[in-house]
Symmetry: C3
Subunit: 131 residues, 3 copies
């Protein structure tokens, strides 16, 4: 397992981690199989979306903040209930295909760590299974 | 890796792909392991839900269109911001179990390509890992 | 494949299944790889979230019931359309990493079966792939 350490910069922040994952794939010599991207936090998630226009990420953040408001008579006392809810909706794991030593992504896809309760230092776990 | 080509027919369209995936499993002779179903698009996703009553899919489409409206002061200029947001909520990958050469699904489950910005020709990537 | 049988207790109920999964890992002698947690139902899902303060689960249930209301002019006649929609948003599968014979989870993470149309007896499929 490889562990990435990712600093985030805002309360809700989608940080592009494609390059860091690609580097791990190269350094580890992973050639052909699948890669589990796993987030070991309860107020963060992994998501795959457009990496070209930064307004896409901005719109994802804006709209999910609106659908799941920061305050809504939550009972959880730490004040980050909305972040927990978003984490469950986005999900803790994604599986990426690796072939010929490279991530197989769509043209516009990037892999993002989605922090819903930042800024913090977050971790991303990578586990490769060869085919 | 096997690539399916799936045409979609409406702006928001959940297309059943269970049969096409089952056929790939048979043709490839995949016997026992897991199958990653991966969508290489940023305005489409994969989801597993009821395949019996078509009103279930209709309700999923209707309600998610309501929760994430097509227009909401988004900044992304291509006009499909809502589709990107839905793609992140539904997710880019699902993992299916294969045993004795067959997909292990629940009685009512079907696998759907969820296009949120159609109609288009979409691709689905299938990667098998044997156990 | 290992099948867990999980009774749920309320209409919407997040049942902690971490211990049952850990026991399966030990009993099966799974040492190093990934574990697919798969829910073979169309009105239930798997989610990973905080296991410390029960108010987190309470808030997830409260808010998702509000965002996807039980009644909203759905056409599906069984009366559980909202449960189907939530199942697609939370997702049918998650992948967990196993190392040295143990689940690799974050400090506060628990694995939950999310039943959106209970109470019922539900099943959870576990499939291990060694690395």
């Amino acid at each position: 397992m490889v562990i990435l350490e990712i600093p985030t910069n805002r309360q809700v922040d989608l940080v592009l981690i494609t390059e860091k994952i690609s580097s791990a794939v190269s350094q580890q010599g992973w050639q052909d199989g699948i890669l589990t991207v796993y987030i070991p936090h309860t107020t963060a998630a992994v998501t795959i979306n457009e990496n070209a226009d930064p307004d896409v990420v901005r719109d994802i953040v804006m709209e999910t903040n609106k659908v799941i408001p920061f305050e809504d008579h939550y009972r959880h006392m730490e004040g980050n209930a909305a972040a927990h809810i978003k984490a469950s909706l986005f999900g803790s794991s994604e599986t990426i295909i690796i072939e010929q030593g490279r991530l197989v992504l769509g043209t516009w896809q990037g892999i993002f760590l989605a922090d819903f309760d930042g800024p913090r230092r977050r971790r991303v776990f990578l586990k490769f299974i060869g085919s």
